[in-house]
Symmetry: C2
Subunit: 369 residues, 2 copies
């Protein structure tokens, strides 16, 4: 997996096309929004060839046929990488959710940053666990007591649940205990939460982990199934009144993680597992043929000030950078230049439906797993 | 079990000495309070020969060695029936709780009506589940999401938990599901909650079940392990600005339940299970030799206005009444007259300690069970 690039004297390694299972598209349900293009473009350049789009945007959410149709139409012919949509479970839409099964690859039980959604009650979550197709993942951003209650219900209904954006000691310990006990739970941590804490950034109390929380996250690295971008970079910039956009924080991902390899905190395998192997498995993401990412893991990069995106790492030198991205045989990114036509990204939400719509196949597959 | 009382022409049945596992003693931690005498006296006359005292009083709670010592001293030589004490788990006392193990028969995780206690966080509850002696029960009044998180933690630590005063459809359904799934959970419902709802009593929204909740309680009768008096009669009187005292509501218990037999809603076995068999088993309550209660199940009683205690059933005719209570061979109550010396009630908290203090016995006992 490790190749020495003699020409440039940089160590170059090859990874599969990376997967961001919590991609934030701010204007997700706004007609003619360009956010889809912007997020998928930044994702591709950062090594992500597939993203799962969170259903909660900055001012609206995907929670019914209408909003999902807008998101699909925004994504159509306008995506640089593959993507799937998710639908938010709310107190008011739970009975209509079966109608949108064919249009969403997963469902999301939201507890924070609700944009027009309402926190679902326990009875609603129960109904959801018992009616949402078995092969379609259920994701939640529940924390604390809410997380505990979602985990209990998942257990009672024998359903798997994925917890996104874990950021406290309490939550990662609860997930660790639940995994030990055999509960079907997986989780991700936003990359920013691994490298920034409330001591380092003023007024970030509701967003970043405390130093103690952050220590607990690193101590429970084996419990963390995936790394994600999440909403954290966007919301942090917003909270600090800095410039943000649909692409905020995406390109910092690989430099931050490879820099941690350089510091002895992570291995290459840690990264590949959490940005490809586990996301692929948990979300049943179809393989992309002839798709890979080359990373120069010893190249020093200085995070630069950009017009539309603030980064808390501006001016900082990190070690490691994406040098090439190949999607289905085509080099779409090379040494800083993007060569993507902008319409090669496929909507893969549908691929999941085909399976989920066929109960016979579903049953045998879930037995096999 | 059913005897015809020819002399009076009333049908008389015999029950074991009844157990109220959630007895409310308002001034539980107030020096020289007479509440202990009053509660145990009313309990005995109502057929209860054993009570578990809730650690949360009307203005204070049992949460440390000092408050527990006061309660013990108030009970000493001052109790008409047997009793055991419980200790509240709070955010601040969890590390000191092992010290009071010898003085409390059970521990209580409080979420409502906290009187000087603080709601314990999940980490505190976790610690409690992993450190509290296995043979000593853990009780909670958690509701909704809090209940779900307590149930999850109990499951993760493989501990049994008893939920007291269940009053909503959401909670009884959650407990039903948890039992089906094999979780070690038991529960009780306050007798008042079976016969009063928010439609019948104005301004009782935070205390009584709604009619729909009440229907769900009756529909899940098989899920309800115990009936209790609980804090409901006292708090209901308080909320409605009626007279209340340490004995409020206790004597209504048997008339309400036997009246439900008369109406075809309950069987005698339903009552015996929930006021004796299950409480005895769940709380490991020592058997009282030569102790029983005679109930005339066809005698009409009109609930009378009393000086210190309001009852929502004043003026109502119910069928069934306690006619005789025999405690350890002595008739202590007969046809309305109390013949109790007032110091025959034993503190049985200690009986549990003896077992809980001996790990070897504890292990073999729990295997046996
Ligand atoms: Zn290079
Ligand atoms: Zn918008
Ligand atoms: Zn689609
Ligand atoms: Zn741990
Ligand atoms: Zn009689
Ligand atoms: Zn008091
Ligand atoms: Zn004692
Ligand atoms: Zn049910």
């Amino acid at each position: 997996i490790l190749n020495i690039d003699y020409k440039t004297s940089h160590k170059r390694i090859t990874l599969p096309g990376l997967i961001n299972i919590s991609a934030f598209v701010p204007h997700i349900a706004e007609q003619n929004s360009n956010d889809f293009a912007q997020v998928t473009k930044a994702s591709l350049a950062a090594g992500f060839t597939t993203i799962n789009v969170l259903p909660i945007g900055s001012t609206e959410s995907l929670q019914d046929a209408r909003t999902i149709a807008i998101a699909h139409s925004n994504g159509k012919c306008n995506a640089h990488c593959d993507y799937s949509l998710s639908v938010a479970v709310t107190e008011s839409n739970s009975l209509q959710l079966t109608k949108v099964v064919p249009d969403a690859a997963s469902s999301f039980i939201p507890f924070t940053n609700l944009q027009g959604a309402t926190i679902p009650k326990m009875a609603t979550i129960s109904t959801h666990f018992s009616t949402w197709p078995l092969l379609s993942p259920i994701v939640t951003d529940a924390k604390g007591t809410d997380l505990a209650s979602v985990l209990l219900l998942a257990n009672l209904y024998d359903r798997a649940v994925h917890v996104t954006s874990v950021s406290t000691k309490e939550d990662i310990v609860l997930i660790a205990l639940s995994k030990e006990k055999g509960l079907k739970v997986t989780c991700d941590v936003a990359v920013y939460a691994l490298f920034l804490n409330t001591n380092e950034i003023q007024n970030s109390e509701d967003l970043l982990p405390t130093p103690a929380d952050q220590v607990a996250l690193w101590e429970h690295l084996d419990v963390i199934d995936c790394f994600t971008v999440g909403t954290l970079p966007y919301r942090l910039a917003q909270a600090l009144n800095k410039n943000n956009s649909a692409s905020t924080g995406i390109e910092d991902t690989i430099p931050l993680l490879t820099n941690a390899i350089n510091e002895g905190k992570l291995t290459l395998d840690d990264i590949q597992k959490r940005l490809y192997t586990n996301p692929q498995k948990i979300f049943d993401i179809p393989e992309q043929p002839d798709t890979y990412v080359e990373v120069e893991i010893d190249r020093k990069v200085v995070i630069a000030q950009k017009e539309e995106n603030w980064s808390p790492f501006i001016g900082k030198t990190l070690v490691g950078a994406v040098s090439r991205v190949v999607l289905r045989g085509d080099t779409v990114f090379l040494d800083g230049g993007l060569f993507s036509s902008g319409n090669n990204g496929k909507d893969i939400s549908t691929l999941t439906h085909v399976i989920a719509k066929t109960p016979a196949v579903k049953e045998s597959l879930s037995v096999k797993e």
